[in-house]
Structures are given as structure tokens and as C-alpha cells.
Symmetry: C2
Subunit: 228 residues, 2 copies
């Protein structure tokens, strides 16, 4: 389903080289639920961006459902993203001038969903994350954790086959964070979603089947979770 | 030192009213170290912005070192902020087009610190948060946790009398987060800094002398910590 081989990401900065990823091999099956952990700067967001077809490796290969991603055109990448992938960004990346509801409807527009169904699905997604009473607020009229939950609702609204989430509970208190990760578990069970999330929180990471650990741009550990 | 009486913050949205703060009384002594906790949307960032003179109450009074803040002019507020307060924003608010070092030097410029001393202090602050090797990166060339640490270094560079931090470890792994909060404890001890930070993490909150809990815009609890 997801196969990375020898993936590197190297930034040239003047005379020096920053190795964000130094050669990652990773195999993730359809329908698996995986957490990615590691220290600040270890390459987690970089890895997730490559998995989500938002960035390309410097070298190495990425095969998604048997298709070589690094060989795709921009149009093909855009189609994969809108059809298969829901992405929650570490810093949310909401559109500032539109409401929570409009932000959540956006991927549904790209997916060609009609007007009434779009509104219904977006409202349902916002309801799932506890924000029905904040639908018409713009991002600067929302708290940090509310913005994060809008970003989550936006990623879920199209019921994507693959959910990628970068620290989805980072701005949330433990009760709200647990509710969100239990929502991910439920979608994973009910619609067989492949879920990959980055987290710093060991308690949140234990809600998965497997934990991949990064350190300095390399996989340092890859272990099953005893009781997800 | 810090005295809030009957502080409210009310937003008018079309026909409805959002009570971000519904009447807060709070007394914080010079040199105290306090954590503010509470669910997402309970008013923590709103409270911190008022304490940091970045926002004004809808009603109620704020007395800082015996001076009525809600009666100050914009110029007086700006001077209080640059002389007394270091603020770490929940979403960092770094300048996108300037490097980490330049971002950290900015408050030192406002405080009238000379060129060479500014550079020395900014480098020392970045070193304290473990980012000496990322000084010349711009924010989009830094990981989420590295950006957060730049925001922290910026707040500390001027050795402010009052440090206000909105979820300063939210984007950090537990080891790096603990290092940061121990740094706050050390400054609190060594220079008698008044430290107030918002956190969702109960482990991080226990590194203080006192925990204030908000719920729905009101103080719901205010208790000493047994072993800070
Ligand atoms: N400009 C605004 N207009 C309307 N409502 C607002 C505005 N800013 C904040 N709010 C509302 O005020 C409430 C408190 O917001 P605040 O940012 O203080 O919460 P918080 O405790 O920091 O939450 P979090 O833990 O999610 O960061 C929220 O319910 C939010 O929706
Ligand atoms: N555009 C860039 N140019 C240069 N270096 C970069 C760039 N983007 C990221 N980096 C570096 O690559 C490394 C990995 O970054 P990444 O964002 O993947 O880390 P992370 O594991 O997500 O960290 P965090 O937990 O702090 O979010 C970091 O050391 C960062 O400084
Ligand atoms: Mg990251
Ligand atoms: Mg907040």
C-alpha cells in the first residue's frame, strides 16, 4: 500500500547540507494505524509531507498503491491528494478570510461534491469534533485548539482512504485530545481508513497498532503496540 | 504586582454574544510561578493576552505594579510591553522573512540595546533553547518545535520581569519540553522572574508553584502545587 525505499530529503543552505531525512525505508499496509514519534527536528513533518504527496524526496522511491509517486506529474499528484488523502497540518494552514464551515467544505469542492451534500458533510465533520457552535467563526475568532479541530474536520470531511495528521492533538487538553484520537480509531475501524499520525504524546501514541520512531532523519525504532 | 478584578472579554457576533472571559479575579505576586490550565476554548489565551497588555478587557480592571492598565494610552502600553513583558504566542507569530537570529533580536531593538550586545544576547538565548545550529534559518526552514523554541528565545532575550507563555511546550517532545520548562524554572530562581504559562500538559504544569484552572471563561480552581 505505502512503500518508501531509501527516501532522503536534503536541503542545501549556502555551503552546508541539512539532512532532514537520511534514507528511510518504510512499509505500511492498507488499513494499518501507525504513530510516528521522535524528538523535535528529527524529520517527522518532512516524512509526513512526502507520504502525503505534498513534497518530493531528494532521492529514493515512494510507491503508493503500486504507483511510483516520484514519477507523477503535478496534476497526477493533485488528483491523488484530493481523492485519497486527508492531511492535518502541524500549523493547521486554514484560510484566514473564510469561516470554519467554508474551510471544511474546500476539499469537498475539489472532490466534486455537490453544494447541498458538501454543506451536510462539512457540518457533520464539524459536529464530530465538537465545533457545531463555532461554524461561522473565522480562524482568528477561534482558540488554538478550535483551529486545530477545524483542520481535523477538513481532513476527515471527504472520508479519505488515507488520513495523515501532524500532531493532531498538540493544541488540545487531554480530554479533547483523547476524544479526537478515539474518533480516528473509530474511523479506522468503521471505514478501514489507513491512519498515520505524528505525535509527541506517548499516551496518544498508544492508541495505535504500531509506533515508528525517528531520530536525526532515520528510522530508529519500529514496534507493535501491545494494547491499542 | 498583577491584579485582575471582574475582568470580562465579550465578542459580539451578529446577534449572539461570545463570553471568552465572564468575570475573572486574579492576584499574582511578583516572582510567583503560575500555570494556567483548562479545556480548549475556556479563555486561557484571552486571559494571557490581557495580562500581556496585548488586548483590553471589555469590563473590569487590570492593575500592573500599581498602575491601571485599562486606562493607559497605546504608547504607554507599548512601553510596558517592551520593557517588562516577554510573550510566547500559542502560534509563535515569527516574522516569516527574517532568520531565527533576527527574530530574536527584534525586541532588543525596541528596548534600545546596541548592535553588538543585541547579537550577543540573541545568540545566548538561542543557545539556551538548543538552536545555535539553526540561527540563520528562516521560519519555513525550521521544524514546528524549532519555531516554538525561537519564539521562546525571543521572549527571553530581554530578560523581562514578567514572562508570559502560551503553551510553550505544545510542539515539543517530552525531553525537549522538560528542558524548556526547567529553563523557565532556572530564570525564575536566578533573576526572580514572574512566570505565567498556559499549558495542557499536567506534567509540565507541576513544575510551578500554583495552578489556576479556567472553565467557560471563569476561574474554576486555584491551588498550590505540592512539589514544584
Ligand atoms: N475574535 C473572536 N471572536 C469571537 N469569539 C472569539 C474570538 N476570539 C476567541 N473567541 C472565542 O473565545 C473563547 C476563548 O478563546 P481562547 O483562545 O482564550 O481559548 P483557549 O482557552 O486559549 O483555548 P485553546 O486551549 O484551544 O487554545 C473560544 O470559545 C473562542 O471561540
Ligand atoms: N526548508 C528547509 N531548509 C533547511 N532545513 C530545513 C527545512 N525544512 C526543515 N528543515 C530541517 O529539517 C529537519 C527536520 O524538520 P521536520 O520539520 O521534519 O522535523 P520534525 O520532526 O517535524 O520536528 P518537530 O517535532 O519540531 O515538528 C529540522 O532540523 C529542520 O531544521
Ligand atoms: Mg513537525
Ligand atoms: Mg489558546
Amino acid at each position: 500500500m505505502i512503500e518508501l525505499s531509501g527516501v532522503t530529503k536534503i536541503y542545501q543552505m549556502g555551503g552546508t547540507e541539512v539532512r532532514a531525512l537520511g534514507g528511510v525505508d518504510l512499509f505500511i499496509d492498507k488499513g494499518e494505524m501507525t504513530a510516528i514519534m521522535g524528538p523535535s527536528g528529527s524529520g517527522k513533518s518532512t516524512l509526513l509531507a512526502i507520504l502525503g504527496c505534498l513534497d518530493v524526496p531528494t532521492s529514493g522511491a515512494y510507491s503508493l498503491d503500486g504507483i511510483n509517486v516520484e514519477k507523477m506529474t503535478d496534476d497526477q499528484l493533485a488528483r491523488v491528494r484530493s481523492e485519497k488523502i486527508g492531511f492535518v497540518f502541524q500549523q493547521f494552514n486554514l484560510l484566514a478570510r473564510t469561516t470554519a464551515l467554508e474551510n471544511v467544505m474546500l476539499p469537498l469542492i475539489y472532490a466534486g461534491v455537490g453544494g447541498r451534500e458538501r454543506r451536510r458533510r462539512a457540518q457533520a465533520a464539524l459536529d464530530m469534533v465538537g465545533l457545531s457552535d463555532r461554524m461561522h467563526h473565522r480562524p482568528n475568532e477561534l482558540s488554538g485548539g478550535q483551529q486545530q479541530r477545524v483542520a481535523i474536520a477538513r481532513a476527515l470531511a471527504n472520508e479519505p482512504a488515507i488520513l495523515l495528521a501532524d500532531e493532531p492533538t498538540g493544541a488540545l487538553d487531554s480530554k479533547t485530545g483523547t476524544e479526537i484520537i478515539e474518533l480516528f480509531q473509530q474511523l479506522h475501524r468503521d471505514i478501514g481508513q489507513t491512519v498515520i499520525y505524528v505525535t509527541h504524546d506517548p499516551f496518544i501514541a498508544r492508541h495505535t497498532q504500531r509506533i515508528v520512531r525517528l531520530a536525526d532523519g532515520l528510522v530508529a525504532g519500529d514496534d507493535p503496540v501491545a494494547h491499542p
